[in-house]
Symmetry: C2
Subunit: 206 residues, 2 copies
Amino acid sequence: MITYPSKLVERAVEQLSSLPGIGRKSALRLALHLLSRSGSEVHLFADALTEMCDHIIYCRRCHNISDTELCSICSNPARDTSLLCVVQHVGDVMAIENTAQYRGLYHVLGGVISPIDGIGPDDLTIEALVERVREGEVKEVILALGTTMEGDTTNFFIHRSLSGLGVKLSIISRGVAIGDEIEYADEVTLGRSILGRTDFEQSIRL
Amino acid sequence: MITYPSKLVERAVEQLSSLPGIGRKSALRLALHLLSRSGSEVHLFADALTEMCDHIIYCRRCHNISDTELCSICSNPARDTSLLCVVQHVGDVMAIENTAQYRGLYHVLGGVISPIDGIGPDDLTIEALVERVREGEVKEVILALGTTMEGDTTNFFIHRSLSGLGVKLSIISRGVAIGDEIEYADEVTLGRSILGRTDFEQSIRL
């Protein structure tokens, strides 16, 4: 139990250590670092965080975070509106954008179906996804959810919700990560990658 | 180069990644985490940081951070006022307090003499330390600065400044850390710990 020389520092440490991945020792280090900065710098720091949370908007089409009602991806005329990639979180959109391999649109679910956490289909944006597909412009929906049981459950639910709408449903490939040694790959992934093997000539064209 | 879906998020990530030990990826994770919290929670978070920096006081005796003009250690009548431990930073006071092995007072220098960084004796609280010793109550000054060249330089400067004041000057012991294997100790430390060996019977009494 650390005793703090000041209640102010203690409160700051408490708040900082509430962040994911930051323990009380790191939080103390961060608090003492902030103390060494000028007051105006710290206000700039704090304002950036509160302003983000106060003024952030969620795109009314894809539910990605945005500064405008329609996000920069949805309002970009160069994007392929026939492709729709379904992801769990906002961070997933950024991760896929950084690959520079995808030019379609996104749909952020806001999570996955998880009865244990009390999250059902109605807590996600699945209904809005079905609506977007019904509009007719989307030709292919790509599932890019986490490879967990909850992700799989959600994939099946979306599969059922979109059936009969005449849209192609695909899923991102799963297998041994690029750069990994075969002997160190986990057995479930390795087994899946053998069952889900692809044509060699097709693979070298990627 | 990550592209952010929102300028607000980008600014928050920039600020968060300015903290020591937090890269842009961790900063993004923290920003998205804060976005998932309620607005009032984030304001509480930000206020804890700004209030700490706006209202913190430095103890007028030991220069430790404090909520009051005289810190809780200096104003504690149970502390031994004949012992004075000299440390570099506020964090060092907390580290020594956590050992529960020391009941004397502290003196926070605010750094060490470092000509490269433009820090001379006048930028530290050495003058105030000499004043405290001159008052006559202190019988022993314990040096607990970092074991760097700058720390050693500062130790010698303090030694010179306090000479003739009739105060005992000691330094914390340096050697192989407790729990460490001898073969993995660095050679400088191991060499010092052999030269600075202590009487066995004395050591088992600790």
